[in-house]
């Protein structure tokens, strides 16, 4: 089951450069929330603060508080523990190239000590099934490497890999930007199904995509969260002039 996210006065920095200014927002459990905005506006930085990937970059720092469910992200939880509950799908598909399809999906569990073969088999199948990839790969799970799949399949493999760890939240950082329309359609369908079990936060450059998949949308500009509301409201009747300019294509 998904859990909600509460972000309080979040500031993020790269060295001395501030990338996010005082972000406050609440993400509803078991819904999809889209983050839109022009390049460099901080939406990726924001999403990476939710699972503490931001701090893997040298000199990157964070202030403020993030709560995921009852968990305090920046207080008392180890980053690795947290990331098992908050899965992530990246912009470019990044399967482990030397691992088989099976090992790619099982990696998160295997490398965290799960050895039970039966349990692994079950989770791998379920995860690939949830990622709508099982039928396409079931015949060569062990023979083919993750890198041998097409781009769209690779991205679904990455989703399956993230799901296998059984997270509560799934962060997607422009998951379709490297994919063709057909693969994009598949991933969007997937997001619809995944919402039932996970809370999804998706960064996207594609405003139609945000409108299609998300119940809530946040608009970022220059490191600030300008507007956050129901998707319908943001796209049809935004309260801020800058949001309106952006969604109607007047800039960005």
């Amino acid at each position: 089951m998904g859990v909600g996210i509460t972000v309080d006065h979040l500031n993020a920095f790269y060295g001395k450069t501030q990338a996010l200014y005082d972000i406050n927002l609440t993400v509803a459990a078991n819904h999809a929330t889209a983050l839109i905005g022009p390049s460099g506006c901080g939406k990726s930085t924001f999403i990476r603060c939710l699972n503490r990937m931001h701090e893997t970059i040298p000199e990157a720092t964070v202030q403020g508080s993030v709560r995921i469910g009852e968990f305090s992200v920046y207080n008392g939880t180890s980053a690795t523990q947290l990331r098992r509950r908050v899965g992530m799908v990246f912009q470019k598909p990044n399967p482990f190239p030397t691992m088989s399809i099976y090992d790619n999906v099982a990696a998160g569990l295997k490398l965290n000590g799960v050895r039970n073969r039966k349990q692994l088999d079950g989770i791998v199948q379920k995860s690939l099934d949830s990622a709508a990839l099982w039928d396409e790969v079931k015949d060569h799970l062990h023979k083919k490497s993750g890198a041998s799949l097409s781009g769209g399949q690779q991205q679904r493999l990455c989703i399956a890999r993230a799901l296998a760890v059984q997270p509560e939240v799934l962060l997607m950082d422009e998951p379709c930007s490297a994919l063709d329309p057909i693969s994009t359609g598949k991933i969007e369908e997937l997001i619809f199904q995944l919402k039932e079990q996970y809370t999804i936060v998706i960064v996207t450059h594609n405003m139609q995509q945000a409108a299609r998949v998300a119940e809530f949308t946040g608009f970022f500009l220059l490191g600030k969260l300008i507007e956050f509301d129901k998707t319908e409201k943001v796209f049809t009747n935004p309260s801020d002039k800058r949001t309106e300019d952006y969604v109607t294509g007047r800039f960005g």
Binding site: P58, G87, P97
Partner: protein, 291 residues
């Protein structure tokens, strides 16, 4: 822009460009031949001079005293295998460890120091490495040994393996590491099971380079392994090695020994090629389709 404009015929490629194309291709082929020629020539000459002296006795017997015909280098072949085994056992983990440090944790001043020291070590003459091994192993043990020879060769392997491992790990995209972190895999686990694994084939190439280089070294073994005319399996006793045996026989005044030195050199090269090929095949077996 009209469609007809796009369909304008591409002008024919001029004669000069076609000639230049052929010239450049020919130049590339010639350079390849020039690179392969020395290797081919060496190998052909070794076969020519050495094959006649290779027989069952050469591969199974120890050297005979001067004047007695026959005998072989079996003990030197075995000794080389033992010494190289010790060297690999010590040098490979150390080299990989240093390479991992340089790539994953050494993007700073400490790393720069290690890189510099490693590059200098790579340039230290092998005879000097032999003296070091003599000082730290032979002097303490109070006699020459396979262990001392192995230590000397291991020291020579480390910088090559460390620097190639570093380069190969740096080629692994950051996105792969991020994917692992994103799954809640800790940093050290990621380094060992994801990054190093992704770079395996390159790391092994580095190990093979280092191995092939030290396998033919003579100078570091002169006063470490020392050589031995008899069988010896103890790692704390003077041990024969192929390069040493070749050296001893080649500078001797006896024709029979000269012939055996050629044969020894041929065996040495064949063994190195066989070892490298075997590892390559083993690695390829483990590679998945499309990886």
């Amino acid at each position: 822009m009209s469609t007809t404009a796009m369909l304008v015929a591409i002008p024919p490629i001029s004669l000069w460009r076609r000639v230049l194309d052929k010239l450049m291709t020919a130049a590339a082929i010639v350079t390849v031949i020039l690179v392969l020629l020395p290797l081919g020539a060496i190998f052909a000459y070794l076969v020519y001079r050495g094959i006649g002296s290779i027989n069952l006795a050469f591969l199974t017997q120890t050297p005979k005293p001067v004047g007695e015909p026959g005998g072989g280098m079996a003990n030197a072949i075995a000794g080389s295998v033992v010494i190289l085994g010790i060297a690999s056992l010590l040098g490979v983990p150390l080299g990989i460890g240093a390479g991992v440090f340089l790539s994953e944790y050494g993007r700073n001043r400490y790393g720069d120091v290690v890189r510099f020291v490693s590059d200098v070590l790579n340039g230290v003459p092998s005879i000097v490495i032999g003296i070091v091994a003599y000082a730290i192993v032979v002097v303490r043990q109070k006699h020459f040994s396979a262990l001392a020879g192995g230590v000397a060769l291991a020291i020579m392997m480390v910088p090559t393996i460390a620097r190639t491992t570093e380069q190969m790990l740096l080629l692994v995209p950051q996105a792969i590491r991020e994917a692992a972190y994103g799954l809640g895999i800790s940093r050290w686990r990621t380094t060992l099971s994801i990054t190093l694994r992704t770079a395996t084939s390159g790391v092994i190439t580095g190990i093979m380079l280092a191995f092939a280089r030290v396998a033919g070294e003579t100078a570091p073994l002169l006063f470490t392994a020392f050589g031995n005319q008899f069988w010896n399996w103890k790692t704390d006793q003077p041990t024969a090695a192929l390069p040493l045996q070749i050296f001893t026989y080649a500078i001797s005044p006896f024709d029979e020994w000269h012939r055996q030195a050629w044969a020894g050199a041929l065996v040495l090269i064949v063994l190195i090629v066989a070892a490298v090929t075997a590892v390559r095949i083993a690695v390829r077996r483990g590679t998945l389709a499309g990886a």
